[in-house]
Amino acid sequence: MSNIRRSSRRQILRMTAALGGGLVAQRQKLLAWDTPGKLGAPLGPYGERSPFEKAVRWHRDSKTPETGSCFTPLQASVGTITPSSLHYERHHAGIPTIDPSQHRLVIHGMVDRPLSLTMAEIQRLPSITRTLVLECGGNSAGEWAAKTGPDVQRSYGLVSCSEWTGVPLATLLAEVGVKAGASWVIAEGADACRMERSIPLSKAMDNTLLAYGQNGEMIRPSQGYPLRLINPGWEGNTNVKWLHSLKLTNQAYMARDETSKYSDLMPDGKARIFTYRMEAKSVITFPSGGQTLPGVGLYELTGLAWSGSGKIERVEITTDGGRTWTAAQLQEPRLPIALTRFRMPWRFDGREAVIASRAIDETGYIQPSREDLIAARGMNSIYHFNGTKFWRVQADGTVTNVDA
């Protein structure tokens, strides 16, 4: 196989820019005639990626691998959709195996007509499809500390974007008839620990989705097969997987995962509770920590931006450590509460450059610096870190994190 084929597309871009179009023709010839006369693999029932593609999720070694997080390899991402197989994961008691023909959703509590529904019945109801970002409330938790994450996967990788299909929860709430005085929905999953969260009824009536489809097929087991909640713009933990119970109540249930966890401790010792929304955030995915630019020349600097409050309005990039900021190109269409790809041509001249991005969403919210976040919240809130991430492109082309 030719070296050119193994080169990154950026290297090709660089060489193309340097030498003109001649290499492109040579590359196509090599690709087409490497192995003349030999048949390829036969047809198959379910696709796999090329064996040359190696990007995988990362997780810490653990004595209890049924709980923990898998981080999406953002550094290898292209476009805006995360493959279902690389979607980030956060589990608390392992991934259950659920036969959809046996699965039921029970809606009960303060309702006129408690209902038990099969998956087939849920899939009969009018459905919608939305492309939505999902981000763990604890994504980038390590970035509060002065020693920041070494690469984009481990520091920002608990975020992914899928096309979700399902039934608006409001449709079924109308069917059960919510009693006067009900104000919360207690959602519970069918995993071993029966994970539960309290969701305000106002959110449930507004845009919560009972999702069974992801990226054109049924949701993967690790994403909640056969049914999960999707709460657009809200922290991942509220998007309860393997959903089997929705109980209408007149109070939040103060579950472990909304009191002990997923609450944000402030410097005065008080903890913010029900901090659902994921605020605007962005990160440069190329060049990013752990990558190496093969030489000086023109590159496409690119990354991802998102906001739980709506569309990304603007992304600005600095290549001089934050002194000046330039607007990046945004991939259209920009969808609300979805990953937005940004790009900017950038010439690496062999001198050290400190680069970062910051997102501005349609509400006018500007992604803050780490320092501004710490000034407002201290360093012990764990969740909802959305600060700007700086990378150092060194003179030799290697890229590292920048410790505070």
Binding site: P114, L265, G269, P368, D372
Partner: protein, 187 residues
């Protein structure tokens, strides 16, 4: 999937049985059976709603804890290599090294019952009977000096336990950084 024991809200079934079998507009679903609701986790409200009958003492809880909890959480709930610390941390929340435990952080004793019942022991969630859950919660609360050695936890006493950090939680006040901090985005 429907193997977990939980308190069945009998009133709901009595009402449901008299209703139409299917939803009014789309004609889907039917009233849940008692077995189906028993298969769901027992969701416990801060006011004690959902707590089952039964009770447990600190002494009984010490035995349950030693058998089922100590291997991960340490013999005295101090935390181990796998399990979080369940005691200590009082006075640390506003310091550089906060220790968030049942005693120092959790606002409701009902949450401890709910979580132990649904999620513990980690490798066999749902193993403990309601009496054992009451007992082990009593023991954890006693380890933290929140209830007396002779206290008995049940559906009546547990919700009335005065947790030290009961008032330690405040609403979300974001956006709190930048030009839009005074402006709340729509949902």
């Amino acid at each position: 999937m429907w193997t977990r024991s939980a308190l069945a809200p009998a009133i709901v079934f009595a009402a449901a049985a008299t209703l139409t079998a299917q939803s009014p507009r789309f004609g889907v679903g039917r009233p849940p059976t008692p077995d189906e609701v028993r298969g769901l986790g027992a969701a416990i409200a801060p006011d004690g709603g959902g707590l089952p009958e039964g009770s447990g003492t600190v002494a009984e809880g010490r035995t349950v804890f030693a058998a089922r909890c100590a291997s991960c959480h340490g013999p005295n709930g101090e935390g181990g290599g796998v399990g979080a610390a369940l005691v200590g941390g009082t006075g640390t929340l506003a310091t550089a090294r906060p220790l968030k435990t049942v005693g120092s952080f959790w606002p409701h004793a009902t949450t401890v019952w709910d979580y132990v019942n649904r999620a513990m022991p980690f490798d066999q969630p749902g193993l403990l009977k309601p009496e054992e859950v009451y007992a082990v919660v009593a023991y954890i609360l006693n380890l933290n000096g929140i209830i007396a050695e002779d206290a008995v936890m049940n559906a009546s006493t547990l919700p009335r336990v005065n947790m030290p950090n009961r008032d330690g939680f405040v609403p979300d006040s974001r956006p709190d950084v930048g030009p839009t901090k005074a402006k709340k985005p729509g949902r």
